[in-house]
């Protein structure tokens, strides 16, 4: 989560649940590319046809509530979406997104200010979100220190590998 992200905003409401992010009928798919074709289908069937690689999903509170399906953040990432910005995330989705490397940012300030179609540039390291259309800058909440350390260490997979190596 280091490179600058850039794309247009697709703005949605609150409580965007995993059933609309990737409907249940697709949950037997494990190929990310195939999942990506159905990202957000339950809410906005046009999403994957109107979005371009790098675009950003912006939503209100409790993004990703509901099921624990990891295919939800996988589908968003595989669609080419570069990040999700929300006022808050549901607990399981938050862990899943970080575990699979989908950049997520909590920023009420950004959510309130941006509109669909705005061009954003995000510096993941500092949580800086620049709105190029409106010429504004917002700040995302920093990750808790433990989460940041996990991210910096290369994610959960690297953490597990390290723990296993220590046991030998």
């Amino acid at each position: 989560m280091r490179a600058t992200l850039r794309g247009r905003v697709h703005k949605y409401g609150k409580n965007i649940d995993t059933d609309v992010i990737i409907p249940g009928k697709y949950c037997n798919i494990i190929d990310p590319a195939e999942l990506g074709k159905h990202a957000m289908e339950g809410l906005d069937p046009e999403y994957t046809s109107k979005m371009k690689a790098g675009d950003v999903i912006v939503a209100e509170t409790n993004f990703g509530c509901g099921s624990s399906r990891e295919v939800a953040p996988l589908a968003i990432r595989a669609s080419g979406t570069s990040a999700v910005i929300a006022k808050s995330f549901a607990r399981i989705f938050y862990r899943n997104a970080l575990n699979i490397g989908l950049p997520i940012f909590e920023s009420a300030e950004a959510v309130d200010a941006v509109e669909s179609g705005d061009e954003l540039e995000i510096e993941p390291a500092g949580g800086v979100i620049r709105n190029l259309t409106k010429n504004q800058t917002y700040t995302a909440a920093a990750f808790p220190p433990f989460m940041q350390a996990l991210i910096d260490a290369g994610g959960l997979q690297s953490y597990v590998e390290k723990r296993l190596a220590e046991r030998v």
Binding site: G24, N62, E70, N99, L164
Partner: protein, 427 residues
Amino acid sequence: MAMTLTEKILARHAALDAVEPGQIINAKVDLVLANELSAAVAIGVMRQMKGADRVFDADRIALVEDHFVPARDAQSAKIAKIMKDFAVEQKIKHFFDVGRGGIEHVVLPEEGLIAPGELIVGGDSHTCTYGAFGAFATGMGSTDIAAAFVLGEVWLKVPATIKLIYSGKPGEMVFAKDIMLKTVGTLGIDGATYRAIEYHGSTVDELSITGRITMANMAIEAGAKNGIFHADAKTIAYVTERTDRDFVVEKADPDARYEQVIEIDIGSLEPQVACPHTPDNVHPISEVTRDEILLDQVFIGSCTNGYIEDLRVVAKIFDGKKIDPRLRVIVNPGSQKVWMQAAEEGILKTLAAAGCAVNTPGCGACFGGHMGTLGDGERCLSTTNRNYVGRMGSPKAEVYLASPATCAVSALTGRITDPRVAVPVGV
């Protein structure tokens, strides 16, 4: 330091004297659960982890095929096979194929795999169900489950606890489902996010184990990390009938710190209905029935209400009657054992004679996957736990949630109906 029930279980599993909300801990797990959807992804992740050839303990992993069963299509069969091959390779004892298990959260307690004081993580959001037994149980995604498969540990942020105190005796045709719908409506869909829910009070002390399961199951519908009851004589009797392993019955300290304490009076509670399209859009039945809400489907089953106690209520209402010709009723007994018990008691025959389709135990209809999917413009009243847009199929369908009794009575009339008005006495 005084601790809540959740804090006590977490502290012991992290080998700490005490923990407090917000603390990050590394906790040992007693059981790791996955179904064919979460397992297929988790196994893929595990294969990519260097040095992760074996699971930490083959007897502390449960794999249950339940989401697209019997396999809906070749892709569903493929992921089921990934899980089955893994179970064989890793010598996992608690593997439940179609016909030998059922819905994971119904199966695990039945098989004695859940006991008070234990810590369970599962690749399914309704893993919180096991809080009914005084265990800490929470749902996670597949990468976290893969980590738990190999390490036998998980990192957790200790949640602050919300204490819910229920008082009053439930009225006629008011069940645990109504109490929990009311609770979700009160807390809101994200009212307990990152929190533990601890259930207290005379009302829940009187509930059966099945009633507590229904309530713990839907803790996630308020966003909670877990929902937990204190184990009592009923819990211990249930568990010791099914396992002889040792377990620790924990108890919250009297001076434990709760972030919030909410008192809920059940004495005057009516049957409740969650209207489309969120589980916290909850209204009393008298309000909902002011409009005539005609139904295309009634669904009875799921990890919330697919238990023998639920089927008995439904069969009593259906006994000798026919469901309304305008709708269909689909029933999924929660597990193979529930199915067999229902057969033995003549319940399956009663249901079939009333016009119900009785399916293989599984999760399919609840999440719009298989065996009871809704079409455009259809409306369903369901005993399940979620009613998001598209949850049971078409995004143009509507799902209402209610108790098995409200669902059964409504199936006879063809529209959402107050079970207190239109029912035979004595159910």
